[in-house]
Symmetry: C2
Subunit: 271 residues, 2 copies
């Protein structure tokens, strides 16, 4: 593995504050290696965490996103290191880094009580989603739908691997992510805090389009690829809803199901 | 590459008819190599095309889906060839074949006039989606939302690669897929045939949740990853709609956007 000519790994003065990720001083969630143009652009734009370096291929064709990254790096006083396309691929940990990699301070987990205290909380809890691409895609979807936080089980969480970070396309810079010991216990805690808990499962008896979503705080729980919600999580939900299938297949992939459910909940909550 | 002990490649009597894919006698769409448990199960269940062989790893743990594949293969009189896990991985062309591969007659393209003539047509047209995983995921979503067909540009279509087939999870067995010379000209043709044409684009001025979708026939056009709809396709659409973004990011991935838009159109059309 060829290392690009390094500059000292010091934090950038303009980009070293952490904000938007709740209390610090806990273990990071990972997410330090950021690959892909959109993910790196949002890292630089959000300035939520320290950026150690940005590495760019010298072989890139003209592209507005690349120009934006160069300009934002200048604003943030982050120097860009240029390496050959081959060297960049060697440094990459995803299949398509799109010629840009950044190294940043890991994402700090959010405080779960703070997430629950939001008066219009819309928390997406993931009960066993294991594929990093799905994890990242769901974080991106949830952020775009206006969710106020993500909750992952600590022991099973894959963490924010480079593949998850790339699929999230920058959403991890904006959306607070909390870790809990287990999703079923978290659902009890959410119910006690006054949140409405909705599970999404193909075996759900209510249609997701018929949910009586009010303006109050809500948790949406998504189950694992293939297996769906665990029995314990399902039993803790006040409602288990399904997405009506109109074809021959019996399920959507978890990313598509998350998109339909998140935007439907937001549509209902939007005055 | 180790070949598993082969039986003669003849079509199975019970599974050799083609149906559900319109006129035959044209070039196939590909899709002959089917990997992954759900995709192989639906191939066997739908019996829309001839199945040359099913190859299974001898190393699989007990799983209801595997049992179902074995039973369906028995019903269809398709013999299963068992190979070691290592041999199966060597035969695979996707990253996670889940221990099962089938070889089938390629998918036959559907006749586009037949797709347009459906009185309640709901056609999803893809204007330049290039990633096989996205292509497959959108076909799965469209099938589940009750779309009546998919239209792809012939010259740019990646075709149904093993990765697309796996991501479609069997949807290609049920949903008719047509090829056209270009999406803009297809949209003119659809308009002349009386279909309403809706483009999905982040620059759309109407919200996808405010579309006046009636019960009539409709085409939904999705643009390429990153670039969105081409100018020519956008100009041919009667409405260009966007999905309202509620966070800091400016776009969804095309698979998530497809899921939101397809299920919203279906919700509006369902009496």
């Amino acid at each position: 593995m060829t290392k690009p000519a390094g500059r000292p790994k010091r934090r950038q003065p303009g980009a070293s504050e952490t904000k938007g990720h709740g209390s610090s001083g806990r273990d990071g969630l990972g997410g330090g290696q950021v690959e892909g143009r959109r993910a790196v652009r949002e890292l630089l734009r959000a300035r939520c965490r320290g950026i150690r370096r940005v590495i760019m291929s010298t072989d890139l064709a003209a592209d507005p996103l690349v120009d934006e990254i160069v300009a934002l790096a200048g604003d943030a006083r982050v120097r860009i290191e240029y390496v050959s396309g081959v060297e960049l691929e060697e440094l990459a940990r995803t299949q398509a880094p799109q010629g840009v990699i950044a190294h940043a301070v890991p994402v700090v987990e959010a405080d779960v009580d703070t997430l629950l205290a939001h008066p219009r909380a819309f928390i997406v809890a993931l009960d066993g989603v294991t594929d990093p691409g799905n994890l990242g895609a769901i974080i991106r979807t949830a952020e775009s739908a206006g969710a106020t936080g993500i909750v992952l089980p600590r022991h099973r969480a894959a963490g924010l691997s480079p593949a998850a970070v790339k699929a999230a396309s920058g959403a991890i810079e904006y959306l607070s992510i909390g870790l809990v010991a287990g999703i079923p216990a978290f659902l009890d805690r959410a119910t006690r805090a006054g949140l409405w808990t909705v599970g999404l499962d193909e075996r759900g008896t209510t249609s997701v389009f018929d949910l009586a979503v009010g303006e109050g705080p809500v948790v949406l729980v998504l189950g694992a690829e293939g297996r769906g919600l665990s029995r314990l999580a399902r039993e803790r939900c006040e409602v288990v809803a399904g997405i009506p299938m109109h074809g021959a297949l019996d399920s959507l992939n978890v990313g598509a199901a998350a998109a339909v459910a998140c935007f439907e909940i937001t549509r209902r909550r939007t005055p």
